[in-house]
């Protein structure tokens, strides 16, 4: 199983670099994983997206619908792509410690 190591911390991740155990997420995870997703700095807007994803995940066990994420955070999809270059399902979910969605997505 791959291990992602940064600043002396080690995380078990999958082949795409997603956290294996979403339960161990903390804000440090988001900070540590940011550079792997081309995010240089986590602004309050980034945190708004990450926290929304995280809370939705805790309630529903999965990421929210992309359209819902946009509407509830007030960001357009292209703005989310600007913040998280690999997009909501990959970049943003990875920083929020969510598993990668699979299927016809």
């Amino acid at each position: 199983m791959p291990v992602f190591e940064v600043s002396g911390r080690k995380y078990d991740v999958d082949e795409d670099g997603f956290l294996q155990d979403p339960g161990i997420w903390s804000q440090d995870v988001a900070l540590d994983f940011a550079t792997t997703e081309g995010v240089n700095e986590l602004t309050s807007n980034h945190w708004k997206v990450i926290n929304y994803l995280r809370n939705y995940y805790l309630q529903f066990g999965i990421a929210p619908m992309i359209r819902k994420l946009c509407k509830e955070t007030g960001f357009k999809l292209n703005e989310i792509y600007q913040m998280f270059p690999s997009g909501p399902a990959k970049g943003a979910c990875k920083l929020a410690g969510l598993p990668k969605p699979t299927g016809c997505v």
């Binding site: 529903f60 969605p101 016809c104």
Partner: protein, 537 residues
């Protein structure tokens, strides 16, 4: 490693290399294969040999008796599937299929010629199951089954999207997708499968759908869509879930209530079904149209397909309506009847609005929403304003399975011609039954497989580029969730600026609902264009 640039990928060498084709060595380099299935997903489904491994590992941690398992598996399937034995025996290597595969066109790799791809297992079939092969070996085109051959199978049979374009051109009607299905099934026996196929199947059992959305999450998403639709139209539609006694069970791919642009198609469905006054229900248990079992084994396909019919029985519906899902329709039209059918406890579907009896669905009892909608339009039951789609200049990508596996060729076009004013076809050898695959079907739509997807999607993207340059097309409509997920990436790479939408998103834009508020924008929130369209379909 960064992804290769388009100008690098178009340097395709069609001159076969000097290597003997019987040499099975392959290189699992990043970009041309998919990751292995996670052991937890194999365990969940009760599949053999769960373990940590990756295709690029030297040691695949195969079971000690893997060779016997594969050969026994072949023997069993040669007895069980006459088609498999036939396809192993009858190919005359005429080569009609050779340049019809999108992966061959996009890669130049001769083993992506369907004839040679199938030869990778035919050679093993000859060695162990024919007298000539047993006696003459190489001379008769026979090969030993070795670990390298197994790896080669994995490499090339997960570079086939089971799109069946090659089969259209085979004078013997060899269905190469069925060869791929059998080989993947054999690989499954020793635990060599990919996560993008196995995890959705495991999720489908665990929560009802590929994405792993639980019932309360499903309801949350549908409720959100109902709320948003009310904001757009002023009308509150009903979208019941698990409602016993409804006339119709409606089954959609789970991406429709998760991803974008799929979601706008969901809005279109909800508007249409409200306007038609349909007595229907969603189901949280059958909250998935897709069937990733098709991409791993007949057994898994059967198990997943059974969920839809079990739920139809439990809810007491009369028949089933299916959404814009691709491979679901291959399972329904070509396998369901013998897997789990006939569904005699249901009634032959009849449109409650028009009275049309869908005779072709008298065994499966399942109707495609494009069939349902085109019938409504044909009978003048919908009020449509196609000018609401004026910002789009549309072409239609025939999704492989609805086109080739169920013959759904006219209905989506009939709908499109009624809901938008600008519609242009791609060249005829790239549409209808000759349609080119998105390059990411059959479970291959992963990020790690990026290069192969772009190669495989090149012929489709090229045809799209043609209509963009010639007619100014800016939207590709389709009826498959994998298309909606993967075509945007493909077009961003080859034809930047091209958008993708479901047919029923465009229906939703054009549909005039009784009592709607004055609409100013489409389902994506973009304002309607008032100007008269310049060209007509």
């Amino acid at each position: 490693m960064a992804n290769p640039k388009p100008e690098e990928l178009t340097q395709i060498d069609y001159q076969p290399g000097r290597k003997d084709w019987m040499n099975p060595a392959v290189e699992f380099r990043k970009g041309v294969f998919c990751y292995s299935a996670a052991p937890k997903n194999l365990r969940y489904l009760g599949l053999p040999n769960p373990r940590e491994w990756q295709p690029f590992d030297k040691d695949w941690k195969l079971p000690a008796d893997w060779k016997r398992t594969i050969l026994e598996g072949m023997r069993e399937r040669l007895r069980k599937f006459r088609s498999f034995r036939l396809f192993m025996d009858i190919c005359v290597r005429c080569g009609a299929c050779a340049d019809k595969c999108h992966f061959y066109i996009g890669s130049g790799d001769p083993k992506n010629m369907p004839v040679l791809r199938a030869e990778l297992i035919r050679s093993v079939y000859r060695r162990y199951f024919t007298t000539a092969g047993r006696v003459l070996g190489r001379l008769a085109g026979a090969r030993e089954l070795t670990e390298d051959v197994l790896k080669e199978w994995f490499y090339y049979f997960y570079q086939c999207t089971e799109c069946r374009r090659c089969s259209v051109f085979c004078p013997y009607g060899i269905d190469t997708a069925e060869v791929t299905m059998i080989v993947r099934e054999l690989l499954n026996l020793v635990g060599c499968n990919i996560n993008w196929v196995v995890e959705p199947a495991a999720n489908c059992f665990r929560t009802g759908n590929h994405l792993g959305i639980q019932p309360h999450g499903f309801k949350d998403s549908i409720d959100f869509a109902v709320d948003e639709l009310e904001e757009i139209t002023g009308i509150r539609v009903e979208a019941p879930i698990n409602r016993k006694g409804a006339e119709i069970l409606f089954v959609v791919p789970s991406a429709d209530y998760f991803a974008t642009p799929h979601y706008f198609t969901l809005l279109g469905y909800l508007m249409l079904l409200h306007e038609a006054g349909l007595d229907y229900t969603f189901s949280a248990y059958a909250s998935e149209g897709g069937n990733f079992g098709l991409f791993q084994s007949h057994e898994m396909m059967k198990r997943l397909n059974a969920k839809i019919y079990a739920e139809a029985r439990r809810l007491g519906v009369k028949w089933i309506l299916g959404g814009e899902c691709g491979h679901m329709w291959r399972v329904i039209h070509q396998y369901m009847d013998t897997l789990n059918g006939p569904a005699d406890f249901l009634e032959v579907p009849v449109s409650p609005v028009t009275g049309t009896r869908f005779e072709h669905a008298r065994s499966t009892k399942m109707v495609h929403i494009c069939e349902f909608t085109s019938d409504l339009i044909r009978h003048g039951k919908l009020r449509l304003d196609p000018s609401r789609n004026n910002r789009w200049n549309v072409t239609f990508h025939d999704s492989c399975n609805p086109a080739r596996a169920m013959g759904l060729l006219e209905e989506p076009r009939y709908i499109l011609r009624n809901v938008c004013k600008n519609f242009h076809e791609m060249p005829e050898n790239t549409i209808r039954e000759q349609t080119f695959c998105c390059g990411s079907g059959a479970g291959l739509g992963t990020d790690e497989n990026f290069e192969m997807r772009m190669r495989g999607g090149l012929p489709r993207a090229n045809a799209v580029k043609y209509v963009r340059d010639k007619f100014g097309v800016n939207l590709v409509a389709c009826v498959c969730a994998i298309d909606k997920a993967t075509l945007p990436t493909l077009f961003e790479y080859w034809v930047p600026g091209m958008e993708v939408a479901g047919v029923h998103e465009l229906v939703g834009n054009a549909l005039l609902m009784k009592g709607e508020r004055e609409r100013t924008g489409d389902l994506r929130g973009e304002p309607f264009q008032e100007k008269e369209a310049s060209t007509h379909a």
